[in-house]
Symmetry: C2
């Protein structure tokens, strides 16, 4: 009857609507029915594209992660060498989540514990930003002819990673910290090295 029976691009529209809702009202306001309503489809329409709510959430996560990856790649491009690329990535990582605190809480929260039990052979390759950091780090070692064994590499990589991720976590989870000037803090090179 109506030519709008089929949305045409509902899957993407649902993801975008989901992101909008998270940004406007936080993750706890994200419901399948609201997302569906935002796309002007019935409340069960999403089930044609996602198995359940968790699958929609995973898709949104992927979309947000892609955004982050773009910024990280920009940071690498505008760095003189791979050492400053690492620092630049760290800053970008923190500032990205500082700009979108809801994204952090949303991304790093396991929705369904049982959903992850199947794929227990997860590797670090699962999280693209970490893969990018690892690549940049290895390039840095090579560029500066630094010899380290696997273990030492792992530890150092982990330290760099924890530093950036930890800062982002603190910045986003601690609520508003008016007394602390994050922008200024990120100006210096000291913090993430």
């Amino acid at each position: 009857m109506s030519d709008t029976y089929h949305h045409g691009n509902l899957r993407e529209a649902l993801i975008e609507a989901g992101i909008r809702i998270i940004n406007e009202s936080g993750e706890n306001a994200l419901s399948l029915r609201k997302v569906a309503a935002a796309c002007e489809v019935s409340h069960a329409a999403p089930y044609a594209h996602f198995k359940d709510k968790n699958e929609l959430i995973e898709a949104i996560k992927m979309s947000v992660t892609e955004q982050l990856m773009c910024e990280l790649e920009d940071a690498i491009k505008s760095a003189a060498n791979s050492e400053s690329a690492i620092v630049g990535m760290g800053k970008k990582y923190v500032s990205f989540f500082l700009k979108n605190p809801d994204y952090f809480k949303f991304l790093f929260r396991r929705q369904n514990i049982t959903a992850h039990l199947k794929t227990d052979e997860k590797t670090d390759d699962d999280y693209p930003p970490f893969v990018l950091l690892k690549k940049t780090y290895l390039k840095y070692l090579k560029e500066n002819r630094i010899e380290k064994n696997k273990k030492e590499q792992e530890v150092e990589l982990l330290k760099i990673w924890a530093s950036a991720h930890g800062l982002a976590a603190i910045a986003c989870m601690s609520g508003v910290i008016p007394s602390f000037d994050w922008d200024e803090m990120l100006e210096g090179d000291d913090l993430l090295r």
Copy 2:
């Protein structure tokens, strides 16, 4: 009629039941009604002790944080000096959440934990583990007669904190980097210094 109309200690029982449910089935399985049922009271009974679900969650958070604080204080006690106390705290912090990954996701899911990072500020709202670290850090500076201005102190404290918190985050968050041997990693002194 029945002598069990009044539970007697329902508030504490609800908190304990909540913790049990989180440990057994994850946070997403935590519902007011299930917690009430676990205590064998009606579904609306919790409202005599908590304004809403969020208040129960906050109470559970406080309880878990107290557990963590006990372990952190133990770590300080068994350290030779305040420098090794800082390292010990970091290890304890990570291993605590490594032992109880659900606690991490649960504690840092919402915004209410506020860490005021200004060194000279002290509020009741402070996140207790951070306050303890700050105290230990200042003692360390004094003990070793290290002169640093406020800004330098803030940055260093933040780095230590981010390191520990970031490691815990990575260790607990789903599938980010599960391929590391965390126990062995925490054996060395290198990681958190």
